[in-house]
Symmetry: C2
């Protein structure tokens, strides 16, 4: 394993940047989309097929992994990379977001949070120090600080109280993190939709000093317009030479607009989760393969996509698989959606490198708005 | 597509035979195990991965395909091979077995059977002629005659009545079948566990003349001992130079014992269905990966198996996936089980070729009886 953890900016186009985040386990081309491998698997995908879509890095969920199979168990088995047979970098979240959204009987104090597992009701405790320790046991290449994902909506006073707790926890995570060559620790900016709080949070994190800076607490119900307005307030306050990660985002149009505002990294369950329920993302918007209009359609899902779902099967077949609840339907649509997301990111990286991001973003928006091409021979 | 449909016997060992069944879409090495691709997919598998396990031919289910997506629709879309992207041979059953086991409100007459779909309650009709037509529309390489799978248990009188109906239907199927180079039609011997009826059924089918002969109506609850005793009565009555197919069978030990009695072809949902629920077949018997004893086991499922589940992952990881209901668990265990079944068949073919089948069968039985090797360092 190489000793470097460094971010190189290669090109700019407006506020957007393209670059390379170098970790001990490999280079991440940015802007990057990280597929979510919740429970040590990107659902319905073999790891080599995830790599083939173009993914340089996966995200793992501390909350899920600490409950099942357990961080100490994964450590005994050789770490998360070996456990799931993924040799590239892995970023792990801190567990804080899922504790808030999934667990029961949470109790939050200055020290940390205690909660009951959503799987078996067992009691657990997560502190900044324990979260960092779990991520260390997993072998995470990029560790995220434990934060409180501020609820939405929140008053300015609530958002400040929550943000300040997250900042104290961020400092404790920095202290607890065992710095090693090739590994990084990211801070998380909070502050809800309040620009002043966001800027203060960014400044406090920069004072502590992290290898990258995430924007948390967005995509929680505020809508795209308010999310982008918050990015407009927040991103300029983030250190220029470090990667910027917008957590839990998002739809294809969210990615395009956030990249234009200077975001370098994303993760979201949307392409994988949607794939399992029959929704496919394409250049011309989302398609629901469950829809009866696909039943006789011999065309590929997307004629320019190189994934197996598009090159080897018809919409009619994908419709048949999804209607029948066939696992292969989930496999193929997940693979397509991840391919679409990675192709989108590759297109944005190329556009930034060639200084054509505005034109590429305009083409993207117009193709999405245009929608699917109807069949010429369709009778209904 | 080549014009041949022929069976070449290459070696014998006692009653067992090894050979090659040549079809227009490829050669099937016998004894052969056919993975079941019920609804135009071998569940949880990409078609190329099914081929990589060693499968030369798949089985498709007429009953499922006629209900969803429909035989005429598959024909319009270019046939079953193109629909599911499998270029090798496909054998389709007649639909009769599933009509009896899955559908509702069945009504059987001399002409055929009417029934309601288990999916949406729609009414359908299956006659010998319609079954052959559906299999033609699908593009099936090996068409099976429509028969009545005699219920178990059945008196000798009931079994005779049922067998005689199946023989009249077999003759109608022979007439309805459009003979084309490279395609074959198989008859199905019935007669429950009554040797006299089985021999009469075999003789009547041989008089009609088929490209292969199946033994139906077994593995329906009679148990392995009675099944094998029935094979002892039946197989010697089947034409020597044609492939013999034991339908819906079975466990690994069923395959070994049936091969020793001269059976050339098998199909069964056991390896695929079991894989989805956490059961793995190995040289040392079946393992249930759900069992807590695997939770910390770093060993491969089977150290001599070359499938991805065994070469790249631990039992602990497979246990984790199955416990969590992860699709990847179904994918990996299905792939392992199909690999195990194909390796077993390859071993039997080699044993027949080298005249060592008795020794190989004895080794098989003793390893199965010995069971899994406990971990040396296991603490519980």
């Amino acid at each position: 394993m190489s000793g470097e953890f460094a971010f190189h900016l290669d090109a700019r186009d407006g506020a957007a940047r393209s670059g390379r985040l170098v970790t001990g386990r490999g280079v991440i081309r940015t802007p990057a989309f990280m597929p979510v491998g919740t429970a040590a698997t990107v659902k319905a995908m073999m790891p080599e097929d995830v790599a083939m879509t173009g993914a340089d890095i996966l995200l793992g969920n501390t909350y899920h992994l600490m409950l099942r199979p357990g961080a100490e168990r994964i450590d005994r088995l050789g770490g998360l990379h070996r456990f799931m047979d993924w040799s590239g970098p892995i970023l792990t979240d801190s567990g804080g977001f899922q504790v808030m959204s999934l667990s029961e009987l949470r109790k939050m104090t200055e020290e940390g949070v205690t909660f009951q597992s959503h799987i078996d009701g067992s009691r657990h405790r997560l502190t900044p120090e324990r979260s960092v320790e779990i991520q260390h046991l997993l072998g995470s290449d990029i560790t995220m600080v434990l934060d409180e994902c501020t609820r939405w909506p929140a008053s300015a006073a609530e958002a400040r109280t929550s943000m300040e707790l997250s900042m104290r926890w961020a400092a404790r995570c920095r202290t607890a993190f065992v710095a090693r060559p090739g590994y990084g620790l990211f801070g998380i900016v909070q502050g809800s939709v309040y620009g002043e709080l966001r800027r203060e949070s960014a400044a406090r994190l920069a004072d502590i000093g992290f290898d990258g800076y995430a924007v948390g607490g967005l995509a929680v119900g505020e809508g795209q317009e308010m999310m982008l307005a918050t990015l407009d307030e927040t991103v300029p306050a983030l250190p220029e030479g470090r990667p910027r990660y917008l957590m839990g985002v998002g739809k294809p149009s969210d990615l395009v607009e956030a990249v234009r505002r200077g975001i370098d990294m994303f993760d979201c369950v949307l392409p994988t989760r949607s794939g399992r329920t029959g929704q496919a993302f394409t250049r011309r918007g989302a398609l629901n393969l469950k829809n009866a209009r696909h039943a006789d359609d011999p065309r590929p899902l997307d004629e320019v996509c190189a994934c197996p779902a598009c090159t080897r099967f018809s919409r009619a077949y994908l419709h048949h698989l999804i209607r029948g609840g066939e696992i292969l339907g989930a496999m193929l649509l997940t693979r397509h959606n991840l391919t679409y997301y990675q192709d989108l990111m590759a297109g944005l990286r190329n556009a930034i490198a060639s200084g054509t991001l505005d034109a590429v973003a305009a083409d993207f928006a117009s193709a999405q708005a245009e929608g699917d091409i109807p069949r010429l021979d369709a009778t209904s």
